[in-house]
Assembly symmetry: D2
Homo-oligomer: 346 residues x 4
């Protein structure tokens, strides 16, 4: 079987990362990649790492052409997928949307954070939030998968076992997260110039960030009830990688003794989650370019605070890699297909 | 008045930073700088930025020579100052120790974290912990000042107003701190190679770091009682700068309205603490090379968690700059003398 | 004496660098700084390193106000200064133009590289090309100084002694130069995003760069005749610093023995040129933030190629620092005033 | 067929890169990886990117065990392979040596640059210098392949067409090369700390570098006679990547018109050399992690200097990737096997 894939909005970092991964996927053929602004330009001219791998040029988005695909990935800014998805759904095409359009179930919250009304409430309801470690079975049969955000992936995976087992105070969760600059996309913003963010570090969105409601929604699901979570993202002077340091109060300090086993069991069958030995310090470089989340647990003396450090590559397990993982699940392929290569270290 | 200054252990990053700052200090003459390993080498050969500024060469440490100074800075690994300080005290020399030897009052805790018994308990007791924003008056007359650590400076300053006023739960403090690589000093460790830490980010010391007891001691002082603080440091792929994101639970959410004014008042007369407008995001580059701490407050909706982001240059306000600030206070100079230049941005 | 200074176009990296340097210059008062796009914004809001140093806000450029200054710096894109300078000249104001408008004497060449006709040929002729190491005396009395470009400064200084003495083949000069990203200025160009240039290195403008005619003009002056020079700039994934590796063929290999002495003599009285020992490798960090050019000579066995490695900070000796140096000369101040601080290392 | 592979000296960056590439090579089984200093440590403990990919631990080097392999890679410092290779040759094992031991044919030159006498002159003579683009047929049957150095790979490939066709003055070649820090290996040297080389750029080895004789040997081969080449390496503040800017004088300027076609033809059948359009600027990131050399030609007006910019990943086409390419050739596999993935960009 060869899956005919279309990519909408391929000029950003998520788009090129999809192309990089799919270039060596044995069961995929990329049949079109769209960009309004760059229509006509060969993708390998924009991304020279793809020279020799693709003959494709960017094309104007055309639902007729996309409707001929087995699967369409949206790698677009928010607001695009919600307008195009209904027609593709009608055409029987399956979609993995890497944008935020279908991630939130509460559309008032969505409208509030994204500054526009949602235009496809029907599909927002039907969409499966594609975190395979939580809802693998639903993904298998989904027609529309909302691919999780980068921060939400790192944060949710790290908190999951604690909340699912009800071991921590769900009202006192703190996620201090840090990301490389590629998370901001590939637009000509002064604030993302090398001269602005090189050799510097800062928090941003500390009073509220779009990923907060997505994180909250996921953590509520895991906890089976309301949660209180503080989420502060930071910008690291590097390109790829997210590290999230998570803090939660253990209800019963005696549970510390079984946390490591709990985490290992929770993710034992997960090909893309690696629980490192207690007290390890996962490095973002250990997942650079790889569809992996690595995490480790820590405890400080005389404290009942569980500390989890969780790392992913924001463009892979936080975006394009997870999207391909979802595609593999949707089409009954081996879940790791095309995602086997180790991270690039150093 | 010209202060004759000696520097013990000048080959590390703290040493060269002292030399950089003192090169333009109008009331200081550096009369000796010691290094056992590099004795005889001109300092400008090791640090070419100092070519044309110093004719000095490193010399063997010699208490007779140091005893002739008005002030001696120790920029040594722990364990050195505590052996040399008593003799210098007897000689009437004043000392600012940038190492950890005299920072902790509880010498059992010190011995536990630094792996050796303290050899100068008398002076450990007499030493003034030199955070000018807290104990300026004691510094004026101190013969021995223990210069605060880098993380403790950023963390304490950010928590101070909250704890002094008793506005937050002192048992639930979290300090998620991040530092550039110069904080690890200038030793040939594989783990600090550019190839190891470039383009990567990680937590370290998450199960316990030497700065934790120092932070706890300072915060207890501010709170006037015991505190519970979780402190996790991280390594940023850059050279200079610390950002600490601090989390505390407000006892009374209504207090949010007066926090900004409280912080501004607390540091109104402080030349080296800058409270930025509510909701700002201090960047480490805004203090690069400058003896400044900049901080800002944040609140997330429906939350009673106060968020403080605090930045310093670990080598300046976190080490050499604060040491010179202490020297200025000790010798009755203008506190900002030699420390007026703005940060290097970009 | 206090020099009243105006800055036109202060929002770029050259503008903020001027402000950083002038903040501690004892004889300067910045009376206005203009920006059409940011008029009304306090400079310290855009550049938080200047908080506490300046109360100024950006203002609309106004020749009446600028005409009241003793000196105006232009830190504008090309094409701006040439339109405003004539009026300021008439008003008796002195100008240091950091843009390229008055650097080239051949206005056809200028028009060709900058894509517009020159609008002030009269002042292009009168302007003094402000490389103090070559034409200090003319700068003293100049009303209009064209501040040299960054690459041209590093390249000219390194070739000067060889060409002035006629020791090398002037037709076979090669300048392989590398610059940090701040050289490209502070505009929202995709190509200068951290995500684009971080962790990567490339040549650019290898078929022709605007600094080539400026370099050629300067080298012709030094050689007293025509030269042939190949100049290839490269982009380094860092913020500040230029390194130029220069290659020239010695006419008489025996001259190798006297090159070091020749270079040392040539720059012996120059406060801002440092000839390091033969075989040294100047690092850009050794001049970071400092108005210095450091250089060193090399020879490979069995070769008559002289190799010169020359480093500057592109924003300081390559722009704002040299501009202040020129101002000091023009106003009879000590040439090093405000420029004494050592480079920031590490 | 599965090739049983041994790796001697696997703790360095070249070793981990071999493991990364071989992890997804379909015809290879790594049966042992040696390290005296780390014997017993699981490789995935040292290199967490390999967690889940290898169960191997480092072992003491043992010729009996290595003798059981089909192929042994040496990723050792110089001086090791020359002592172990003869015994492996006798055992019929094939070897790809990534160190410098067998690269030079003139053993006096070797001894001079590497500071020791060569201990295996017989095999130094028999070894094939493994640049497939030059001697592919000899590699097929070689028992011992000397894998080229990183700089020599980038420099030779770029000069090859010019010298083979005799179009340029062979006595006036200049190679200005720049490398990321991983080229210096993974030893705890102060000079390679992030704090030392981050945000800085410098030349090194400008008076003579070990790769110079290797470059000269290769270029002499291409030119069919003696050459004069000046080679200056530089250190880039990044991890992976080499860019070499090459300068040569065209004997007949009219030849410029056919250079592009010449280069394209020369490398038309080469899977790992990509000649970009005339005037392109290859970026090192376009080959990050990939076994590729990309190059482009430039000409400046009124000049007969050919400029070639050539980029590789020093750890891949400059080391481990080229070694696997050589292995593929030696064992009759598809030359691109295991080396198909595009570079990691951004």
């Amino acid at each position: 079987m060869v899956i005919r894939v279309g990519i909408v909005g391929g000029t950003g970092y998520t788009g090129v990362e999809l192309l990089r991964i799919l270039a060596v996927h044995p069961e995929v053929s990329v049949s079109c990649i769209t960009s309004r602004s760059e229509a006509g330009m060969p993708v390998a001219d924009m991304y020279p790492n793809l020279r020799g791998h693709y003959d494709l040029a960017f094309s104007e988005p055309d639902v007729a052409v996309l409707g001929d695909c087995d699967l369409v990935f949206f790698a677009t800014p928010h607001g695009v997928a919600m307008r195009m998805v209904p027609e593709l759904m009608s055409a029987g095409v399956r979609v993995v949307d890497l944008s935020a359009d279908f991630r939130l179930k509460d559309l008032d919250v969505w409208a509030n954070w994204y500054g526009m009304a949602h235009e496809s409430p029907e599909w927002a309801e039907k969409a499966v939030y594609g975190l395979p470690e939580v809802v693998r079975d639903e993904i298998r049969t989904a027609q529309l998968v909302a691919n999780p955000g980068c921060y939400p992936t790192a944060v949710q995976l790290g908190f999951l076992p604690l909340l699912e087992q009800g071991l921590v105070d769900p009202k006192r969760l703190i996620a201090d997260a840090k990301s490389g600059a590629s998370g901001a996309g590939r637009q000509g913003k002064i604030g993302m110039l090398h001269g602005e963010i090189g050799e510097s570090f800062k928090a941003y969105g500390a009073s509220g960030h779009r990923h907060l409601p997505e994180i909250r929604q996921g953590l509520c699901g895991a906890a089976g009830g309301d949660v209180g979570v503080t989420f502060v993202p930071h910008l690291i002077p590097m390109i790829r990688g997210i590290e999230a340091t998570l803090y939660a109060e253990l209800k019963n300090p005696a549970d510390f003794d079984r946390l490591q086993a709990l985490f290992e069991q929770r993710f034992d069958d997960e090909p893309f989650v690696d629980v490192m030995p207690f007290g390890s310090h996962p490095e973002t470089r250990s997942v650079r370019g790889a569809n992996q989340c690595r995490m480790a647990l820590h405890r400080q003396e005389q404290s009942n605070v569980v500390i989890v450090s969780s790392v992913i590559d924001n463009l892979v397990k936080g975006a394009a890699g997870q999207a391909v993982q979802n595609m593999n699940i949707m089409f009954g392929l081996k879940e790791t297909m095309g995602l086997e290569a180790p991270a690039l270290l150093p």
